[in-house]
Symmetry: C3
Subunit: 478 residues, 3 copies
Amino acid sequence: MAWNTDLRWRLPLTCLLLQVALVVLFGVFVRYHPDADAHWADQKAAGNVSSDLDNEFYYRYPSFQDVHVMIFVGFGFLMTFLQRYGFSAVGFNFLLAAFGIQWALLMQGWFHSFQGGYILLGVENLINADFCVGSVCVAFGAVLGKVSPVQLLIMTLFQVTLFSVNEFILLNLLEVKDAGGSMTIHTFGAYFGLMVAWILQRPNLQHSKGRQSSVYHSDLFAMIGTLFLWMYWPSFNSAVSNHGDAQHRAAINTYCSLAACVLTTVAVSSAVHKKGKLDMVHIQNATLAGGVAVGTAAEMMLMPYGSLIVGFICGIVSTLGFEYLTPFLEARLRIQDTCGIHNLHALPGIIGAIVGAVTAACASADVYGKSGLVHAFDFEGDKQSWTPSMQGKFQAAGLFVSLAMALVGGAVVGVILKIPVWGQAADENCFDDAIYWEGCSRRHLPSTRRGLRTASSLQMPENTALHPEDSALKTSEP
Amino acid sequence: MAWNTDLRWRLPLTCLLLQVALVVLFGVFVRYHPDADAHWADQKAAGNVSSDLDNEFYYRYPSFQDVHVMIFVGFGFLMTFLQRYGFSAVGFNFLLAAFGIQWALLMQGWFHSFQGGYILLGVENLINADFCVGSVCVAFGAVLGKVSPVQLLIMTLFQVTLFSVNEFILLNLLEVKDAGGSMTIHTFGAYFGLMVAWILQRPNLQHSKGRQSSVYHSDLFAMIGTLFLWMYWPSFNSAVSNHGDAQHRAAINTYCSLAACVLTTVAVSSAVHKKGKLDMVHIQNATLAGGVAVGTAAEMMLMPYGSLIVGFICGIVSTLGFEYLTPFLEARLRIQDTCGIHNLHALPGIIGAIVGAVTAACASADVYGKSGLVHAFDFEGDKQSWTPSMQGKFQAAGLFVSLAMALVGGAVVGVILKIPVWGQAADENCFDDAIYWEGCSRRHLPSTRRGLRTASSLQMPENTALHPEDSALKTSEP
Amino acid sequence: MAWNTDLRWRLPLTCLLLQVALVVLFGVFVRYHPDADAHWADQKAAGNVSSDLDNEFYYRYPSFQDVHVMIFVGFGFLMTFLQRYGFSAVGFNFLLAAFGIQWALLMQGWFHSFQGGYILLGVENLINADFCVGSVCVAFGAVLGKVSPVQLLIMTLFQVTLFSVNEFILLNLLEVKDAGGSMTIHTFGAYFGLMVAWILQRPNLQHSKGRQSSVYHSDLFAMIGTLFLWMYWPSFNSAVSNHGDAQHRAAINTYCSLAACVLTTVAVSSAVHKKGKLDMVHIQNATLAGGVAVGTAAEMMLMPYGSLIVGFICGIVSTLGFEYLTPFLEARLRIQDTCGIHNLHALPGIIGAIVGAVTAACASADVYGKSGLVHAFDFEGDKQSWTPSMQGKFQAAGLFVSLAMALVGGAVVGVILKIPVWGQAADENCFDDAIYWEGCSRRHLPSTRRGLRTASSLQMPENTALHPEDSALKTSEP
């Protein structure tokens, strides 16, 4: 079948139509939050605001910037591990995120910040939009190298919508807590992405396997992404928590979980190798699982040792996943998960949901203080009679809703993306920047040296010309 | 003509003389702002300050750090796209900025923070010094690869002075608003740099064209620069705005403009390629134009949809500029603009000035609130009788003053830099780290694969030895 | 002697045992600081806390994130200059820091935050733990390339303990000020590391010299580290200072010192080269010395010109050290200092201690204000009768204590690490990722082009196969 990857009208038209629509919708619906409106001066004059420092900007902007870096540099560069797909990894991530945050401001705005016919835009909206796009970046990880930028824009359009609906159900209807998005971002995003990847499975992907691996310097570029995700995750998990102790505690819990996760990732990575050597794939990815898994519970009284335990477990689970589960899923279930998101976002996301449910169920006025308990779980208004045990049950329900939304939504979107009109490349042309970027050669097929454990890595093609950097620095070792 | 690039006494002497002069001048003139002076404790004891949180440090330090990253990593790495000039790009940017911020603290200090014979140094001075140096980084982009570090220090010395004079005229005499520097930083910096580049035009630059392009990994290094500039631009445009709503609004407007800019950049980049492929030059540069163009208006009530429209337009203008205008300017006007700053800073800067003027002229008490209007445009004291319409006219005047200052100043400085004593390299030795850096080979001339559209790219020299990474990854494609 | 680098049980066991021990100790000892405890809501209800903004989180979290980036990206990437050791540099730094911050939270917690049987964890603890680990990163620089990850974990275990003891002696017993750690972090960390390196000296290291150098792109990766360290150092030196003016002043002083340092580093680097060319080793490292040397005095009334002078001197001292002192120390004293930490941390650390002592001794109520003087040096309680002169003497004593602790501690730990059971590589297998990382080739020995000036660089081995990137981009130049 012919795969036409000439995007000369499809990509420009898609981008322009989407952007024009966004401008119109913003014109109709979006205005400034009072904290960002020039009437703030009048509010101060009237005595309704005591000090400029009360402006939400000062509470949340530093965290916002950290989250922003995670979305654009963290995810963008983490996915540059592919030796010939760096431009697409960081470039398409840039594109889908720039579109996604605008569409998310609308979608989430309609659900959460709609007042008097307008969406009132403040820094908290910007953070939530970045969160929403985070789930799309997660899904991108599963299909990386096998989709066109037009498919990514379509996927973003739908996934942001589904995310917002799911988020509304969880946070407003079920009224669960999920500050760091273990359920709404990671579990949802991962299973959505895996379902899409399964629908779009490519029967002859082994013809591109030579490029589905890293080279020395692409692994170092990916570490830039890994480290910015790892370092800023405390901001991610605390960015939308209540002012004061909740933001403070969420940062601490995340810091602890991530630190423990590194130790156990290194331990397992070494233990599964015949000669105890470390695998960059594990260090780049599994070290982050601890951040995912405390997403829900970070703002709760998880206790520092509780966070360490969560991170401890996740490093093990995630690394074993990369080593054994991903090849299994590819061989048996034909889930071609490029970045192994199942090990970093799906499983740790589920762990995070469980940890959140249990931690909530175990809450008490002794641990939280009387006002603290009410404040932490919003046990007021229509939740006034809730007990921690109820909260825990609803937290668990939130996990199942997210899973259902992800799988059903992913199936529908997968079918839409399968239509052969979006400029996707043929199976033998995957993982290759030359398809969509000017100035990249297509002649050489470098030898595969390093990559995720995949079922088809045994069927690597014979290499006629080696990539010089490869031969100089890397050969497979027993 | 012999070009002596041995800088063994000229560079050390220049650096040492400048630094000694700075130490002396700081000793005579610079002291701490009260917020950074130990007498703050006495102020608190006397009741003049209610809380440590009133200290300007807490309002502005996070934004300062983001701006700082943009200057040193953002600009520094964006310019590492050149395959053999990465050390000079990031290293010389480091040098001129480290000198420039010190000289700017003095120059701007004399103009704005001079009290009782002293310049009082606080975090706002640090931000403004970084802003000033930003305009030098912009100008560096035009002459990148064709000047010696001594020339850059001389250029910085004069440009910082001219910037400060221009800034004083605009902000203190014309009393315009330009928080994000569309006029004072981008328009001024770009036309200054282009004028210098025009004066320093090199008739035989085609002999170096083989190096005036990128390779696969240099393009990825450049994306680090691009992303840090893009992500932190909301901080840049809000860093010196009024506390509270203005900082908040400026961040939001910038975020929106930049997001829209990415979509239209991708659209045009794909549309102008025969097969719809994207060009890294566009993605690295034109995606930033939206940030430049809301520099002036970001703190005004531009409205989110207004910001989207500005970004939408700039992505188109900037990308078309890279594709068609820069080669035209080089072929017809002999403006050899290495980084294409005309498309990223000059044109969007002018757009930003116009947007600012129009937005100011359209301001009203309905939109801003009564106090808000006064507060946003400082309609008090000697500006008490101003109307928004007057403000708009003065904004426009500010653009013309900046242009005049840039062109005249650039001509004078260009003539000074043309004197063949500063260690500049010959035409055939441009874009080569080996001239100024130890340990870089000069033997090979890699094939040119990717670069700005230039008039002389047709006259590429025959390549005797190909750069291995080039041959492996890149060949020109029709 | 056979060097068994198969870490298959040693590394996993070490990591798992350490992490389990940490979980248990956290479970027994670590709880949340009140600012991070849910009881904060009750405190507000009771009127003990007026506003959420009083939470320590808002004073210190932005600075914490900057420090965190310096530890993981700054140090991690600065050490990727080695052409074949990038994975280990950034990966092992990641591992030792993730372990170190947990162990430091306990050690420093027992010394400083122990109340009612618990260590109360807040953002200030996180910052101090990062500081402590900073000293381990410094020591890592001396032994980089010559130790196994198990040795690094053992070194971290002991060094964090010694650091905490030293810190307690200086800050609690001698009651000196050292906000930026010139003594506790840099002097201590550097001499500890140099002593360990001396004990572990390798008689046949010249067999690995071919790899103890950089290539073009590894130097650019290292500049990422350099710049993030340089830009965020103002946060590092101000992160634990008193609220208000002290944090503000420390940031300003550091900014000034670092700027001056760049100018003199470039000056000396050019002056010591026959043809005035710059050396990336100097630009990557010596430009940072100014930050080290104002560590102690940054929060004092050093005055901006004082900071410039300190930076001015350090750029010269540090660059001359890289050029002449390090080869001398290697040839004569057999101190094999991979990263030249003696020039960046040891000497500038001593300078910083002296500058701190002198600045403290010169303090007066005129300069600081009456309350300011008391507040800056804690001249209350048991220090009520102290004079600035006394403070200066104690500051100097702090330097000697740190030196003694470093040298004695380094000797003991060096002896422990010399036991040939930790999986260290043989002399001819140093600086090679292939020893500990999967997928890295060992066949080629690239030509050495660039590296620290070492005594044995004359004894480079004959190169059978050149690294293509090397031959294309670099040859030694006279």
